[in-house]
Each structure stands twice: as structure tokens, then as C-alpha cells.
């Protein structure tokens, strides 16, 4: 983070500082000349992709210029992906139609695992819990990480230091973080014992609400930094000129945030939400250590339920069926998010900027 870099969030004392910022022509390419050049480039590429008028000619020219590498280059990745992702996936699918305890050979069980699964209240509940935890994660972490990310994008040295400190949780393993929080939240010797007015008797792990709250808090503590990082980067990429124009039009700090920063962060928001959704649906380790799916089955999310079935109860058939169901549900949800957000089209956010 170079000190010369202009403050993207709020150009501060209005047009003057913005103008100096532009003159300085900092490394991020947001100087006036840089901006113009990039805007022009952006315009050209949009012309090629979007309008299509002179498109085909340009595309074919591009194709001639940079030939795509042959399939041979992709072979190692394809083989690896096939061996360690596709083959196991198929085997899990096969396993889900068998009954196997780990002893002897699996025996074909038809649809038994699947029919049992759909009549299992814990299974149905676990899917809802997974969705609930994911949803809460998105709702809690997104606003937090946008605010922190946008704030951290500023050039001040103090912000850089604080941001670095704030990113520390990201470097710790989920397991270590969970163990730590479990100790911190001990009702007799941890934080709740010191703050009875807030926690009551501190029975956080003894109620559904409490246990879910802890899971949301811990995952927010650990993953907000990652998403802040995404937003920090995206904020820095917002062209300076937009803020300058807004400042000329008399927009204050808040209006600039809502009318420039947020819309410009759209793709970053979608990226971050999809990461949260996929990560949230497959959360496992924090549940294993913090709540063990308890109290009762109140935080038994699907991924944890799969682990219980397969590796605790030695019912590998049922575990495989749950795993497969989770793959299907997570795929469906990710697809819906991708479609709704228009992420698959990846439309530019700098339309009309030149």
C-alpha cells in the first residue's frame, strides 16, 4: 500500500485533493492519463464483446494472433481432477446404493439408503440448518466485510497496520480457532463468567439459539478478513475519476459510498457471496469441535451428519447418500446464486466510463 495512492472511499476534502491525487499518477494507474488510457481500452473491449458490430472481425483476428494451447497442456489437470474428484464421486454414488459397515464387502441395498434418508427427520433438519447457517453467515459477514474492506482500502499507514492485524485470523487453522473459542466461551471460566449481564448463566452450547449464534460468530471472526480482502482489492480498482465527478456534483461521503462504491463492488459482492455459500454449506470442522452437532441434534448440519453416519456409525452407504445429496443441493444453490446475480455473464461495471 503506497502512501501516494489516493483514498478511494472518500476523496476527503473534495475536488482539490482529488485533483492532486490525479496529478500524482500513482502506481495503481489511477492518474488522469492512466485512467483515460484504461477507459479507452475498456471501451474497445466492450465494443468487441458487447455490441458485436465490428466484433467478429476483431475476434477472429484475436484468434489468429493467440492460438489456444492444445488439449495436451490440460492433461495433467484433467487426469488429476478425474482421479481425485470424478472417480471418487462416481464411487460415492455407487456406494450410496449399498450397505457397508467397513467389514466385508458392500452389498447392494437398492434404494434403501435413499428412502431412509428422505424419511429421516434429522436429515431434513440438517439441510435446513446448513442453509440457515449459510444464510446467517452471508447476512452477518457481507456488510461487515464491505465496511472493513472499503475502510482498509484507504492509503493511511494506520489503516494498513490495523488491516494487517485484522487479517491474522485468516492465517489460523479452523481447528485451532474453534478450540480457542470453545475455551473462551466456557461458562464458568471464560468470557460469559465475566459478563453475566450479557450471557446469563452462559449456557451458550446448551440451547439451539446459543449454539447457532456461536457458530455464526466464530465463522464471522475467522472469515470476515478473507472477504474484506476481496472488497479491499475491488475498492482500490474503482477508478478515481468517478469520485471526482461525484464530488464535483456535490455528493458527500455517504452518497459516494452508496452510489459509486457499492455499485462498483457488485462483482466482488457476488464472488464473496458465492465463496460464503459454498464454504457455508460444507462447513464441518467448526461444528465438530465447537458443538459436535449438539445440543441433541440442534446444530447437526448436513456435512457433519454425513461424518457421523459414515465414520461414527460405520454406515458408509447412508454417509455416501448424504454426501451426494449435499453435492446436489450445494450445486443447485450455487447455480441459483450465479444465475440471479448475473455472475455468469460477468458484465462490466464500468459501462459508459471514458
Amino acid at each position: 500500500m503506497t502512501p501516494a495512492q489516493p483514498d478511494m472511499t472518500a476523496p476527503g476534502p473534495g475536488a482539490t485533493s482529488a485533483a492532486t491525487g490525479a496529478d500524482s499518477g500513482s502506481g495503481s494507474g489511477s492518474g488522469s492519463g492512466g485512467t483515460r488510457r484504461r477507459a479507452l481500452r475498456g471501451d474497445r473491449s466492450r465494443g468487441g464483446a458487447g455490441r458485436g458490430a465490428g466484433g467478429p472481425a476483431r475476434r477472429s483476428a484475436a484468434a489468429r494472433g493467440t492460438a489456444r494451447p492444445g488439449i495436451g497442456w490440460a492433461l495433467p489437470a484433467v487426469v488429476f481432477f478425474g482421479l481425485f474428484a470424478l472417480v471418487p464421486l462416481v464411487m460415492v454414488a455407487v456406494l450410496s446404493f449399498t450397505s457397508w459397515s467397513g467389514l466385508g464387502s458392500p452389498s447392494f441395498a437398492g434404494l434403501t439408503n435413499w428412502t431412509k434418508l428422505f424419511h429421516d427427520p434429522v436429515m431434513i433438519q440438517s439441510l435446513w440448518l446448513s442453509v440457515l447457517l449459510t444464510g446467517l453467515g452471508v447476512v452477518v459477514q457481507t456488510p461487515l466485510s464491505i465496511l472493513i474492506g472499503v475502510w482498509a482500502a484507504g492509503p493511511q499507514r494506520g489503516r494498513a497496520v490495523l488491516a494487517a492485524v485484522f487479517f491474522v485470523p485468516l492465517l489460523l487453522s479452523v481447528t485451532a480457532v474453534s478450540v480457542l473459542w470453545r475455551a473462551l466461551l466456557d461458562p464458568n471460566f471464560g468470557v460469559p463468567a465475566q459478563a453475566r449481564w450479557l450471557f446469563g448463566d452462559g449456557d451458550l452450547f446448551g440451547s439451539r439459539t446459543g449454539a447457532i449464534g456461536v457458530l455464526v460468530l466464530v465463522s464471522a471472526w475467522q472469515y470476515t478478513p478473507l472477504h474484506s480482502l476481496i472488497y479491499q482489492g475491488a475498492t482500490r480498482a474503482i477508478p478515481k475519476v468517478l469520485y471526482q465527478a461525484a464530488a464535483v456534483d456535490g455528493a458527500g461521503r455517504v452518497r459516494q459510498f452508496f452510489h459509486i462504491t457499492l455499485p462498483q463492488l457488485r462483482n466482488a459482492i457476488v464472488t464473496s457471496v458465492i465463496l460464503m455459500v459454498v464454504g457455508g454449506l460444507t462447513t464441518f470442522d467448526s461444528v465438530l469441535i465447537l458443538t459436535q452437532g449438539g445440543p441433541g441434534t440442534d446444530t447437526t448440519i448436513t456435512a457433519f451428519y454425513m461424518y457421523e453416519k459414515a465414520f461414527k456409525s460405520f454406515d458408509y452407504g447412508a454417509g455416501a447418500a448424504i454426501a451426494l445429496l449435499l453435492v446436489v443441493v450445494a450445486t443447485a444453490i450455487s447455480l441459483v446464486v450465479v444465475r440471479l446475480s448475473g455472475y455468469d455473464r460477468m458484465a462490466g461495471t464500468q459501462e459508459g466510463l471514458s
Binding site: F84, A85, P88, L89, M91, V92, V94, L95, W100, S101, G102, L103, G104, S105, P106, V174, V179, R182, A183, L185, D186, P187, N188, F189, D201, G202, D203, L204, F205, G206, Q222, Y223, L226, L229, T271, I274, L275, M276, V278, G279, T282, T283, Q292, G294, G296, A303, K312, S313, F314, Y316, G319, A320, A323, L326, A330, T331, S334, L335, V338, D344
Partner: protein, 453 residues
């Protein structure tokens, strides 16, 4: 899901993406599943060769990997000095032992001799015809069991046949207490259940949690069920349940035990936040040591844990006694529950039966007993009491050994008496009943749904 995330999520995030790592769980499990499947197909192809490698002159001993291995290593080394057939010690570290064992026991990689918890932990293997009864391991030595305390030796019997030689220490569950807290509240160690209820009231009036309970671990709560069922119904009820008679769970005795436990919980004996407390990690033990609780029901290892964490308290303030009796109950006050011991069991397909028999006979040698005592284990051989004076805490060791040798019944913990696959279901029923989420009827149904075979 994988396809879509691969294609669309920018993979080059500035730091290693943690959620992406989490997303990999499905794949990891998928790989695991495949590896397991490959494992079985290998078995099918392997033609059932023995793990000891046919002609080679050795046999494999598989043991749970922890600090206790010191003794196992020593015994193996001693055995190998004189034996032509060598013993090879393999260890599996930590909590994954049961899972790993389950996946290799029917493959060519299976050991010849393996560590287990007796009871339900070997029942599935016996049913699958994988184990050799001790009668066949020691054809010339039908009295081999006489070297061990019967209450322990009997817990590795399946359908009347013995399958395990005790090979570590015994760990009965005792009622521990903080002497100072009890004295301050004018309470003495309870002899009967009614005493305990009175004690609870007095301790509560003093503002301490009467009984520390690490409910987050669940097996901690289960110990209360184990003792109450024993005291009310006698050891027979659970034995019948484990051998397949599910009707006993609905008996009047079973309901009485449940209502007594309900009464204890409702009296506030465990406070209100026990579900957030754990024994693992030191939460409940710390409650007892710091004087915030009066009692704790825990395995005999509580003593060494307290000694390590609060040496002063362990030396002067820690009291221990047996579980109180229940008026009109069928169980003997001398009955115990807990971990009876760990056992060595022998695979049926081993080619080194004679050498293994010789090896297992070391498990009641004087050297073995001394070595176990030196690392704090309390062996359950009949010659153990000769060596107790040499231990660090002779009084505590003698107290336990006396209890174990006189116990008419020593019940293996429920989660170990049932096959491992039923553990989660037992824990859930126990916790939900304790929390009042399910009533006695639902608890009985949950227990009847367990698969004992």
C-alpha cells in the same frame, strides 16, 4: 457444485482461500470412500493372505498409540529376546483407532493381535467370525482366566466365550468430591441416593454447583445413567439389553431409574449450564478443584488429571467414594461401571497361534505389572496387589483394586458395551433426556432402536 465453483470462482485469491478449503470436505470424503472401496476390492483380490506375511516368522500386534505404548514396547522387546517368532508392534495414534481398525480388520493388512475395549467393541468381529476364542488360543491352558480379576476378564466374553486378555489398567468410575466445599456446607459423602439429594440441596443453598458435569462431552452424563440403572435394576437389565432383549428398556425399573435422574437434574444438581461445560479441556475438573462445585462423577483418571493440573487440591482436597445405593434397588452397592480394562484379542486366521499364546502369557508376569504401575496404570491381574506399595499413591491404587476385585459386577461403559456404530445414538438420547427435550418414553424408544448385534 464442484464444476460450477471451479469455473466461476477466481482461483487466484490473494491468500489461500479458506472457504474453498472447506468446500473440499465433500471431495475428501469422496476420496476416502473410494479408498475404502479400493481397500475392499483389494481384499477380494488378495485371497486372504495373513497379515504376518505367510512364511515369515513374525506376528503383528496393533495397539492404540499413546503414552502407554512404553510398556507395550518393553514387553514386545522382552518377548523378542527369547522367541524365534518375533512380535511386531504397530500403533495407530489417537482417536481414530476404532475407525482404522474397522477398515483394515478384514483385509490382508489386518494384525494378528489387536487392542480393544472388550464388550461391544469386539462383538461385531466375533459375529463376523474373525476372532479366535481364548479356549482355542490356549488349548492346554483352560485356566488362563484365573490370572485376572473375574469382574474384568468377564467383560471381554461374548456369548459365554472369552476373547480378550486384559493388557493395561482398570478405570472404574468413582464419585469425586471437594472435601473443603463439602465441609463448608456441612455435607458428608452420600451413602444413599436420598443422602445425595439432601447434599444437593445443602450445596445449592451455599451457592455452589452441587455436582460438576461436563455435559458437552455426553459420555460424562452417560455415567450417571449407567450407575442409576445398575443400582435400581441390577446389572442384569443392561446385560439383557445388550444381548438383544429390547423390552427391558420399557420395564418399571428402567422408568424408575429415569425418573430418579430427572429428579436430580430438576433439583438443579448440575446447575443450568452443564451443556456448555466439558471435562475434556478441563472445564468440569476445574469447577471441582476451584471449589465452585461439590461433587463430580468421573473415571479414576480424574485423580491423575487433578494431580497434574491442581497438585495441591489432589493431595489435600480431593475426596473419592463409590456411587450411593438406592433404597429398594436390585443392584449391589459394590457394583462398578467404567472402563474395565483394555484387551488383546487374537484373529482367527493367524498362523502364529503358539507364539501369540506365549506372548499373551506375559500379560500377567511380574515385570508387566511393575511396568504398568510405573506409568500409573492399575493392572487387573491377581498378582497386582503384591506390588502396590511401590506405587506413587498406594492408598488410591489399593482402594481401586479392592473395589474392582470385590465387585460382583463391573459394567463396561454403555458406549463400549454396544458396538461403536451405536455410540452417537446413545449420546444423543442421553443428552436430550437430560436437557428435557425428550421424555422417558422417547428415551426408551431411542434405546430400543439401538442395534446390539
Amino acid at each position: 457444485m464442484r464444476m460450477s465453483t471451479r469455473k466461476r470462482i477466481p482461483t487466484r485469491t490473494p491468500m489461500r482461500s479458506a472457504p474453498a478449503a472447506r468446500a473440499r470436505i465433500t471431495r475428501t470424503v469422496a476420496c476416502g470412500g473410494a479408498a475404502l472401496m479400493l481397500g475392499t476390492s483389494l481384499t477380494a483380490c488378495g485371497g486372504g493372505g495373513s497379515g504376518s506375511g505367510g512364511g515369515s516368522q513374525e506376528f503383528h500386534v496393533l495397539v492404540y498409540g499413546d503414552a502407554g505404548n512404553k510398556v507395550e514396547k518393553k514387553i514386545v522387546a522382552e518377548f523378542n529376546k527369547t522367541s524365534k517368532v518375533k512380535a511386531v508392534l504397530d500403533t495407530i495414534p489417537g482417536a481414530d483407532y476404532q475407525q482404522k481398525l474397522q477398515t483394515i480388520i478384514n483385509t490382508p493388512q489386518a494384525p494378528d493381535v489387536f487392542y480393544n475395549w472388550g464388550g461391544g467393541s469386539i462383538r461385531p468381529y466375533v459375529k463376523a467370525g474373525l476372532l479366535m476364542p481364548l479356549d482355542d488360543v490356549f488349548p492346554n491352558d483352560p485356566k488362563i482366566g484365573d490370572h485376572f480379576l473375574p469382574s474384568v476378564y468377564n467383560t471381554a466374553k461374548i456369548d459365554g466365550k472369552a476373547y480378550g486378555i486384559p493388557m493395561r489398567g482398570t478405570q472404574p468410575v468413582l464419585l469425586f468430591s471437594n472435601k473443603k466445599v463439602l465441609a463448608d456446607a456441612g455435607v458428608t459423602a452420600p451413602k444413599t441416593w436420598d443422602d445425595l439429594l439432601t447434599d444437593v440441596k445443602k450445596l445449592k443453598a451455599k451457592g455452589v454447583t452441587p455436582i460438576a458435569l461436563g455435559g458437552g462431552d455426553k459420555w460424562t452424563t452417560m455415567m450417571w445413567f449407567e450407575y442409576l440403572y445398575d443400582r435400581v435394576a441390577g446389572p442384569g437389565l443392561f446385560e439383557k439389553a445388550v444381548s438383544g432383549d429390547k423390552s427391558v428398556w420399557a420395564s418399571a425399573d428402567s422408568k424408575k431409574a429415569l425418573s430418579m435422574f430427572r429428579q436430580l437434574v430438576d433439583a438443579g444438581a448440575f446447575g443450568s449450564n452443564y451443556d456448555s461445560v466439558k471435562w475434556t479441556g478441563g472445564g468440569s475438573a476445574q469447577l471441582l478443584a476451584s471449589g465452585k462445585a461439590g461433587f463430580e462423577l468421573m473415571g479414576s483418571w480424574e485423580y491423575s488429571t487433578q494431580k497434574e493440573n491442581s497438585p495441591d487440591f489432589a493431595a489435600h482436597g480431593l475426596g473419592y467414594t463409590t456411587f450411593p445405593s438406592v433404597a429398594g434397588g436390585k443392584g449391589n452397592t459394590a457394583d462398578l461401571v467404567g472402563n474395565t480394562n483394555n484387551f488383546y484379542s487374537v484373529m482367527k486366521k493367524t498362523k502364529q497361534r503358539a507364539a501369540i499364546a506365549k506372548f499373551l502369557k506375559l500379560m500377567y508376569s511380574d515385570d508387566f505389572v511393575k511396568a504398568q504401575l510405573s506409568i500409573g496404570n492399575l493392572p487387573t491381574t491377581t498378582n497386582t496387589d503384591k506390588f502396590l506399595d511401590s506405587t506413587g499413591d498406594p492408598a488410591y491404587a489399593k482402594y481401586q483394586l479392592n473395589l474392582v476385585s470385590k465387585a460382583p459386577s463391573f459394567q463396561v461403559s454403555w458406549d463400549q458395551a454396544y458396538p461403536p456404530s451405536q455410540m452417537t445414538a446413545i449420546y444423543q438420547a442421553v443428552q436430550e433426556f437430560t436437557d428435557g427435550k425428550i421424555d422417558a418414553g422417547a428415551f426408551i424408544k431411542d434405546m430400543q432402536a439401538l442395534d446390539a448385534s
